[in-house]
């Protein structure tokens, strides 16, 4: 039995690792097709994402929104909700932060920053909460509502930055720069990395703790795994779902706030290049573990930041990196299937062993 427990603890890390290695190997062939030595390409990829000053900074910048949004998606998954509305929630969060950053003046930094973050969280939470309400009290599938709410959010932002919020005389639709007092501090001088990554790490750790230790986490877990049992035990399934969806939206909203306050310093139409969708993949690949989300976000962030340099220095198209990303997802999905098969056998054996070994 001991070996089982060890392997159970070890498996969640082993499988994604193997999947990543497999994806890199297949990716190597794709790179070779473009006429570049794969080893050379991977060296650049690694150096420019994890092994030099600017690379690390870039990676952390990409990782921050991924981490926050993916944590939100994971919270939803724990409650049995698949939230694919990260993209819309990020944009709404960006809007919330931009509103506070642009139109509230004269505050010291230590009030203005938290206030803008709260603004981002709130608008994201409202956006997730709408889907949560529709699911919990009206029975509308959350996959559909969150997806559709993405378009509504993007169009609202699009309108706002073209009309009421546009910077006078701007060359393209964007808002003016937010107040300095609402800008997140830069972590590494001369680089892009901002304090958003800390917000992400703290949020993820708090969530991990919440699910391990708090009654609220327990309730979400029960609702996610067996809503019938939750109802039977007197828990309010609808309110839990609504809460979880709002929390998920709020976390994505924080990601958007981070983008506006730390990186772009203004709001425009595409502050997120698809982080919301990538977060779904990250959350699914992290298989319920908040630690897993941290590492998977780091990997995806590194791929994104390395991809730019790869194109510039080795002439490898951006799309190859995306292909590697896709391959990772594919291989992890395969490893999940293989592993659940494996676990099923193990549990079958454990289950059967007991009644046979010690009779009832």
């Amino acid at each position: 039995m001991k070996t089982n427990q060890v392997s159970n603890a070890f498996l969640p890390f082993l499988a994604p690792m193997l999947a990543i290695v497999a994806a890199l190997i297949v990716g190597a062939f794709l790179i070779a097709l473009t006429g570049v030595n794969p080893l050379h390409a991977y060296t650049i990829l690694f150096r420019e994402s994890l092994a030099n000053y600017y690379g690390i900074g870039n990676t952390l910048t990409k990782m921050a929104p991924l981490l926050l949004t993916a944590s939100g998606v994971l919270v939803g998954l724990r409650a049995g909700q698949l939230n694919i509305g990260g993209e819309g929630q990020i944009h709404m969060g960006g809007l919330g932060a931009a509103l506070v950053g642009l139109y509230v003046h004269g505050l010291p930094m230590w009030i203005h920053i938290p206030l803008a973050l709260i603004g981002g969280f709130l608008l994201g939470a409202i956006w997730g909460g709408i889907a949560g309400y529709l699911k919990a009290f009206r029975g509308v599938n959350e996959v559909i509502t969150t997806l559709l709410l993405n378009y509504i959010a993007l169009n609202i932002i699009s309108y706002l930055v073209q009309r009421p919020m546009i910077e006078p005389g701007a060359a393209s639709p964007f808002t003016p720069i937010i107040s300095d007092s609402a800008k997140l501090p830069i972590l590494m001088p001369g680089g892009l990395a901002h304090a958003g990554i800390f917000i992400g790490l703290i949020a993820t750790m708090v969530l991990g703790w919440l699910f391990r230790r708090s009654p609220l986490g327990y309730q979400i877990e029960v609702v996610g795994q067996n809503p019938t049992a939750a109802r039977y035990a007197g828990m309010s399934v609808s309110r839990t779902i609504m809460f979880v969806m709002a929390l998920a939206g709020g976390l994505a909203g924080l990601a958007g706030a981070g983008e506006v306050m730390g990186l772009k310093h203004r709001l425009f139409e595409t502050i997120s290049p698809g982080y919301g969708y990538e977060a779904v993949a990250i959350a699914l690949l992290s298989r319920g573990s908040f630690t897993g989300v941290i590492f998977t976000s780091l990997f995806f962030g590194a791929l994104r930041s390395g991809a730019n340099v790869l194109q510039r220095e080795a002439g490898i198209p951006f799309t190859i990196v995306y292909a590697i990303q896709g391959l990772t997802v594919l291989f992890i999905a395969i490893s999940l299937a293989v592993e659940s098969n494996l676990l099923h056998r193990v549990s079958l054996r454990m289950n059967r062993l007991k009644p046979a070994g010690v009779k009832l």
């Binding site: 039977y232 007197g234 056998r345």
Partner: protein, 513 residues
């Protein structure tokens, strides 16, 4: 003539041996029972026979010829047909369509001709069903006939029935037995899997008892009794007459007045039910599944809203109370009908399942934190007290056997000395040993002074456990009988919705309260 012969069939799952060199001979036209507790290897053996599993070693012989069954399709080609406990029918399709489903691969389907074929076949086997009826409209007993016709249509000569009576009323069981006897007389060989001893004794010619994956013995039915079979199956003596102790009912604790409840489709499920339940008393509720028992239990537990009427516990009107209010302020234990779907969160540990209803309360939650050490200690204590067989309290309940899962629920629901216990099918799917255990625990609670509502579709179970028996039919209580005077016949008739007075001339006279 030997129709089916198994020779040293062994099937392993990892290091666990589910079937340990099982050898078996079944004659043509024989009804052969396979008896064993849950986990004894019955289902594995049947899956080997129906081609779903390949044995690791051993050989199946059909009429003296060794065969290798590689799939369910292959098995049916060899004339082995399996009738599952849960029917594999498409409710939207007609009987004839269900029967021919998967056998026709041409572009044209002459349904009229098929219907005639099915009709003549059902006449031949005296299995009366209307080929054009929609399966979803048929009663459970009729659906089972369709299942049997389905395998016969495919040319099955060996029929395997997996606990076929679990879903039937006593009358339907009788007619199933008549059908099976006819089929056997016509030369079909029948393997009948069950753990209901009375049925086996009544129906079968021979019985093979399995225990821990091995054949304990194969015996002709004339040479065995219920006691012998039970002992062979469990490996120790089993007492059939529960020592119930003297009933000592006290004051009325639950008072249900003129209750009306609707089901999930907003159709009336309970129509005007009135009864009282006293402390130290077990009120059994008999009835065919789906006559409002589920809704009654849910209404008392607060899971279903009451359309009309009143539920009072200890004189307090709790009709409008929420589930949470009832859990926190009243002492009600509710053993739900489906432990895996309702009563447990399968992937959580035993410890986490035990706090399902009390996770927000002291001592499990203090200062907004779950107190892991207290939760674990509580679980260790409960595991010991209720004799749950598990490696430790962190094992997820999905790894437990059915009996042990039910013990976890008992441990949770009986803790804190509930005044009212609603037990909905508490022994469903449990083997003899576990059933005995659950019933004993409930009797201990009754002795302590708990009032118990014992709902079951197993008539005999209700008869053994109850002090009074209410019979439910279409959302109403047909009658409430004193258990001391009630007979299987009277209750059986009431279960069919007939008033006893109407059929008194055909049934021996019985008293009712």
């Amino acid at each position: 003539m030997v129709h089916l012969r198994l020779e040293g069939i062994t099937k392993r799952f990892g290091s666990f041996v589910a079937n340990d060199s099982i050898s078996l001979e079944v004659q043509s036209g024989e009804i052969h029972a396979i008896l064993g507790e849950n986990g004894a290897g019955k289902t594995t053996l049947m899956n080997v026979l129906s081609g779903l599993y390949q044995p690791d070693s051993g050989q199946i012989h059909l009429e003296g010829v060794p065969v290798h069954l590689t799939s369910a399709n292959d098995a049916i080609q060899h004339g082995i047909g399996m009738i599952h406990q849960h029917f594999m029918l498409v409710p939207q399709l007609s009987v004839a369509e269900n029967i021919v489903l998967g056998t026709e691969f041409g572009l044209r389907l002459n349904l009229r001709q098929k219907m005639e074929q099915v009709r003549s076949m059902s006449n031949r086997y005296r299995l009366q069903v209307d080929p054009s009826a929609i399966v979803g409209d048929l009663s459970v007993g009729m659906q089972q006939r369709v299942e049997i016709l389905k395998v016969l249509y495919r040319g099955a000569r060996v029929l395997i029935l997996d606990e076929p009576t679990a879903v039937l009323t006593p009358l339907e069981v009788e007619s199933l037995f008549i059908i099976l006897r006819q089929l056997a007389a016509a030369g079909h060989t029948i393997l009948f899997i069950s753990h209901k001893l009375d049925e086996l004794l009544n129906l079968c010619d021979k019985v093979t008892v399995l225990r821990q994956g091995q054949v304990v013995e194969t015996l002709p039915i004339q040479s065995v009794t219920k006691e012998i079979l039970a002992q062979l199956m469990v490996g120790r003596k089993v007492l059939f007459s529960l020592d119930k102790g003297i009933p000592n009912p006290g004051s009325t604790i639950l008072d249900v007045q003129n209750l009306y409840v609707k089901d999930d489709r907003h159709l009336p499920a309970i129509e005007g039910v009135t009864f009282q339940l006293r402390t130290g008393e077990i009120l059994g509720i008999a009835g065919v599944d789906g006559n409002g028992q589920r809704e009654l239990a849910d209404a008392i537990a607060g899971l279903r809203s009451v359309a009309e009427g009143k539920i009072c516990l200890e004189g307090i009107d709790i009709t409008e109370w929420s589930v949470r209010q009832r859990i926190q302020q009243l002492h009600i234990g509710y053993i739900p009908e489906d432990r895996q779907r309702i009563g447990l969160v399968m992937n959580l540990s035993i410890a986490k399942n035990l706090i399902l209803k009390a996770f927000k309360q002291l001592p499990f939650c203090k200062n907004w934190l779950l107190q892991d050490s207290i939760i674990d200690a509580h679980a260790i204590h409960a595991i010991k007290q209720f004799d749950v067989r598990a490696i430790d309290e962190q094992v997820s309940v999905s790894n437990l056997s059915g009996g042990n899962q039910q013990k976890v629920i008992l441990a949770r629901e009986l803790s804190g000395h509930p005044k009212l216990i609603i037990a909905m099918q508490p022994c469903r799917g449990l083997d003899v040993g576990a059933t005995e255990y659950v019933q004993k625990q409930l009797l201990i609670e009754r002795q302590r002074g708990a009032a118990i509502l014992y709902i079951s579709t197993e008539l005999e179970e209700v008869m053994t456990m109850s002090d009074r028996i209410a019979v439910m039919y279409r959302g109403q209580f047909m009658d409430i009988l004193d258990a001391a005077h009630a007979t299987i016949e009277t209750v059986g008739v009431l279960m069919m919705g007939e008033k006893v007075s109407k059929v008194l001339d055909t049934i021996p006279a019985t008293t009712s309260t």
